[in-house]
C-alpha cells in the first residue's frame, strides 16, 4: 500500500523519563476505519495528541494526504481536514448544542471580521449554509431534541454524541475519536456503530479511533493497531488481533 492517505512513521514522545510513545508507525488508507487498542497508559491518547499537534513529537513524521503535518500550528491541523474528539469530553459548557456544532464549522468561510460586524449578505449566506450543514449532522446523530439545550446539563452519553457531531460538522477527511463508546450502553454502542458505518460509507470519512469496547471494534474496524507501553505490539484485522496470544495476555484477558 504505497502513498497511504494517512501515515505515521517512527513517532516518539516522552515526558521527562516517561516514554509515552516509542517509534510508532502505521498507515491508513482513504475511507478506512482503523482502531487503536491497548492497555491503559499504552500511549493511545498521546498518539492522537501528537497527530493533532497538542504535543511536539521528539522524532518521527506524520503525513496526511501527502503533506507533512508534524510541524503545523495546532489550529492549522483542522484546515488540513482532521477533526477529533477527546477522551474526557471537551465541550463548550457555556453554549448550547447548536452553538457547539456551529463552532465545529469554525474553519469554514464565514467572512472576515469587518463583514461580520456589518452582517453583510455574504456573511448571512455563509451562516445559513453552516446552519444547514449542522442540521445535517443533527439529523444524522439524532440530536434534534437537544438542539437548544446547554450542554452542561446533558447526560454523559449525549455529550459524547455532541462531541462526535462537533467533529463531523468540521467536515473532516480524517476523524480521530478517543474512546467514543465509553459510557455508552450496548444499545447506544450499537447506534454508534451504525453512525460510524454511515460516516464511512456516505461521507467517505477516514476514521482512526481509540477504543476499549471490543464489540464495537470488531463490528466496524477494518484494521486494528495494538499498542503496549508506547509501542506497536501488532496489527491486523479485528479477528487476527483478537486471537493473538500477546494481545490476549496484555489487553483482552481470558
Amino acid at each position: 500500500m504505497s502513498a497511504a492517505f494517512f501515515e505515521v512513521e517512527q513517532l516518539s514522545l516522552s515526558f521527562g523519563g516517561v516514554k509515552a510513545v516509542r517509534d510508532v508507525s502505521f498507515s491508513v488508507g482513504a475511507g478506512e476505519i482503523l482502531a487503536v487498542i491497548g492497555p491503559n497508559g499504552a500511549g493511545k491518547t498521546s498518539l492522537l495528541n501528537l497527530i493533532t499537534r497538542v504535543f511536539d513529537a521528539s522524532s518521527g513524521s506524520i503525513r496526511f494526504n501527502g503533506h507533512e503535518i508534524s510541524r503545523l500550528a495546532r489550529h492549522d491541523v483542522v484546515r488540513q481536514g482532521i477533526a477529533r474528539t477527546f477522551q474526557n469530553i471537551e465541550l463548550f459548557e457555556g453554549a448550547t448544542v447548536l452553538e457547539n456544532l456551529l463552532l465545529g464549522r469554525h474553519r469554514a468561510d464565514h467572512g472576515n471580521f469587518f463583514s461580520q460586524m456589518f452582517n453583510l449578505p455574504s456573511v448571512q449566506r455563509a451562516e445559513a449554509l453552516s446552519r444547514e450543514r449542522v442540521e445535517d449532522v443533527v439529523r444524522l446523530l439524532d440530536l434534534a431534541a437537544f438542539r437548544h439545550r446547554p450542554v452542561a446539563e446533558l447526560p454523559y452519553g449525549v455529550r459524547k454524541v455532541v462531541e462526535l457531531g462537533r467533529a463531523l460538522a468540521a467536515e473532516p477527511q480524517l476523524l480521530l475519536l478517543d474512546e467514543p463508546a465509553s459510557g455508552l450502553n450496548p444499545e447506544e454502542t450499537r447506534r454508534l456503530a451504525y453512525w460510524l458505518e454511515d460516516i464511512q460509507a456516505e461521507l467517505g470519512v477516514t476514521v482512526v479511533m481509540v477504543e476499549h469496547d471490543m464489540s464495537l471494534v470488531a463490528a466496524v474496524a477494518n484494521r486494528v493497531v495494538v499498542m503496549d507501553q508506547g509501542q506497536v505490539l501488532t496489527d491486523g484485522t479485528p479477528a487476527q488481533v483478537q486471537a493473538d496470544p500477546r494481545v490476549i495476555a496484555a489487553y483482552l484477558g481470558t
Binding site: 516517561v18 491503559n40 497508559g41 446539563e153 459510557g183 450502553n185 444499545e187 454502542t189 451504525y194 484477558g253
Partner: protein, 260 residues
C-alpha cells in the same frame, strides 16, 4: 436480615428538572448490587444522592439504620459510604501518593501504609508513577486511582459509578474480580452502576433497572439476565453482540428533520 442501605422513594431535582421520581432500593450486608439504565436514566443522580453529593427533595436513605439523606457528602463518607464518582474526580495537582493519603483522610488507624501497599500491588501502574501529578495520568490510570482512593477509606458500602469507564477489557475484568475479592475479605457491600451490563450482571447478586428516573425492573441477577427485554437492551441483543457489517441487526429508523 436488615438492609445495610435502604433507599425509599427518593426524589431529586436539578433546579426545575426532576431526575429521580421516587426510587427505592436496598443493599444488604456483603451484597453486590448493580444498577442498569440507559443514558440519562438517573443512575448517577441516584448514587450522588445517596452519597450526599446532591440533596433529595423527598424520600429517605438509611445506612445501618441511621438516616443519611440530606447530609453533607463528607459526613456520609465518614460514616462508611464511599462513592467513586462519575468522571474520575481525582486531585490533579497532588501526587498519586498524596491522592491515596487523602483517601484515608478520615482514618486514624495504623494500617494505612499497608493499605497503600496493597493498592500498589493491585495497580502496579500507580506504583510506577506514585510521585507524579495525578492530573497527568492517562484516563484509565486516573480511573484506577479513583477506585483505589475510595478503597483507602475502608468503606462498608462502596458506591461505584461506571468503574469500567475507560478501562481496558482486561482491567475491567480485574476490577470486577477485585470487587468480589474485597467483598469476600472485608464483607464490603457494593452498589455499582455499570454500562457493561454483561459483566455487572455476572458479578452482582442483585440488580435494578432504572428508566427515566424510576425503577423499571428489579430482581436477582440470574433472573434479570434471563429477561428478553434486558437481553435486548442491556446485553446487546440475544446472541451476538454487534452486527458484523451493515447487514446485521435492526437499524433504528432515521428521524425526519424536525424543527422546533
Amino acid at each position: 436480615m436488615t438492609a445495610l442501605l435502604s433507599v425509599r422513594n427518593l426524589e431529586t431535582w436539578y433546579g426545575p428538572v426532576r431526575a429521580l421520581h421516587g426510587v427505592s432500593l436496598e443493599v444488604h450486608p456483603a451484597q453486590i448490587v448493580t444498577v442498569l439504565g440507559a443514558n440519562g436514566a438517573g443512575k448517577t443522580t441516584l448514587l450522588n444522592t445517596i452519597a450526599g453529593v446532591l440533596a433529595p427533595s423527598n424520600g429517605t436513605v438509611e445506612f445501618e439504620g441511621r438516616p443519611i439523606a440530606g447530609k453533607d457528602a463528607d459526613e456520609v463518607a465518614r460514616g462508611g459510604v464511599v462513592l467513586v464518582p462519575e468522571g474520575r474526580q481525582i486531585f490533579p495537582f497532588l501526587t498519586i501518593e498524596e491522592n491515596l493519603r487523602m483517601g484515608a483522610f478520615a482514618r486514624k488507624d495504623t494500617e494505612i501504609a499497608n493499605d497503600t501497599d496493597q493498592m500498589y500491588d493491585w495497580f502496579p501502574r500507580l506504583r510506577e508513577r506514585r510521585r507524579q501529578q495525578a492530573g497527568l495520568l492517562s484516563g484509565g490510570e486516573q480511573q484506577m486511582l479513583a477506585i483505589s482512593r475510595a478503597l483507602m477509606g475502608r468503606p462498608r458500602l462502596l458506591l461505584l459509578d461506571e468503574p469500567s469507564l475507560g478501562l481496558s477489557p482486561l482491567f475491567t475484568k480485574d476490577i470486577f474480580a477485585m470487587i468480589k475479592r474485597i467483598r469476600e475479605h472485608t464483607r464490603t457491600a457494593v452498589l455499582v452502576v455499570e454500562q457493561n451490563a454483561a459483566i455487572a450482571l455476572a458479578t452482582a447478586d442483585h440488580g435494578y433497572v432504572i428508566e427515566l428516573g424510576r425503577v423499571a425492573a428489579a430482581g436477582s441477577c440470574e433472573a434479570l439476565s434471563r429477561r428478553e427485554d434486558i437481553k435486548e437492551f442491556y446485553l446487546g441483543g440475544a446472541s451476538h453482540h454487534l452486527p458484523q457489517g451493515v447487514a446485521g441487526g435492526i437499524r433504528p429508523a432515521r428521524r425526519r428533520p424536525s424543527w422546533n
